[in-house]
Symmetry: C2
Subunit: 164 residues, 2 copies
DNA sequence: CTAAATGCAAACAGTTTGCAGCTGC
DNA sequence: GCAGCTGCAAACTGTTTGCATTTAG
């Protein structure tokens, strides 16, 4: 609720720098994508992102969204969670979800990043011991939504419904 | 290297019981599937399993493999990891990988279960605090294969190559 | 004998790609 | 003006499903 736009503006800049550094342009679609992506810290999948992008420009295509999403992951401003079901889920690589830990709700299928999950070094040591160099550690917590269970709906579930 | 067949025989029995309890039969294909699945503790995907099954009976089809895989997950003798890339990865629900933690090798893409990852209660508490009831917690550790890096190949990579 | 299991092929969903036209620099 | 970005449609991949045939009990 505080350093939101600061953090995300710098991520946007990081994205633009990435494209510039590759001698590639900052196009209208890319600007829109970065705007809608970095205006919240919510996780999203390609469809959801397309919907938000199309709220700004109706003409944007899904393939372009995928192509740029690919770049943003490479630029390390987004990372990909192997998320809910079959669709790819992306998350903003901001500081308050320090990389890669998240709750996956079994009911509403929403993916909620966990802040500071205190992931221990223990598992990394275990991996090293097995002959692997750890690159990224992530925690996935499947859970049920209490709110949805109790009241029959929850904000995340509603958020999903509003798409389309 | 010790209690291998004991553990896995009981899982096989558990699978058969599941089918029996549903008034469904123990067919040839199901027997073969259970044999090849429970003879090791390796993770696998549908293709790999099909290959191993077809080593016994050439005629088995991929759809049948998927159908029975579905049952085995429901019977809780297998669980599913959101694994390497796009394919579904399954693991035997044996005691030495206590549910759901694994290393994913970036190089050879193999998925290696981690024993006793000591996953803390902390994250579960965090989830509860956010209004979720934790159901399953899993740790995913992306890593590079030291062996592959050093020697240019590793046993897991070879294991992959031998498929077809 | 009958319900259930199977193999095949076709359907599906999400993602990727080839290509012709459009656009930013 | 030209490289590169885009939209479209078609291709692709992993998984699921419908249906006719076979099989287990």
């Amino acid at each position: 609720m505080s350093a939101t736009s600061d953090t995300n503006d710098s991520l946007k800049e990081q994205a633009f720098d990435y494209w510039r550094s590759k001698g590639r342009g900052i196009t209208a679609v890319r600007k829109i994508m970065c705007d809608v992506i970095f205006e919240t810290n919510e996780t999203f999948n390609a469809d959801q992102l397309l919907a938000r992008v199309r709220a700004v420009d109706k003409a944007v295509s899904l393939s372009t969204v995928y192509r740029n999403l690919h770049d943003l992951v490479e630029a390390e401003v987004l990372y990909e969670l192997e998320g809910a079901d079959d669709k790819r889920v992306f998350a903003v690589a901001s500081s308050d979800n320090n990389g890669s830990s998240h709750i996956v709700c079994r009911d509403c299928k929403q993916v909620i990043p966990i802040e500071n999950p205190c992931l221990s070094i223990r598992e990394s040591a275990l991996a090293r011991q097995k002959g692997f160099s750890p690159k990224r550690i992530s925690l996935r917590l499947e859970a049920s939504c209490d709110e949805l269970g109790a009241t029959g709906h929850c904000k995340n579930h509603e958020a999903k419904d509003k798409v389309e």
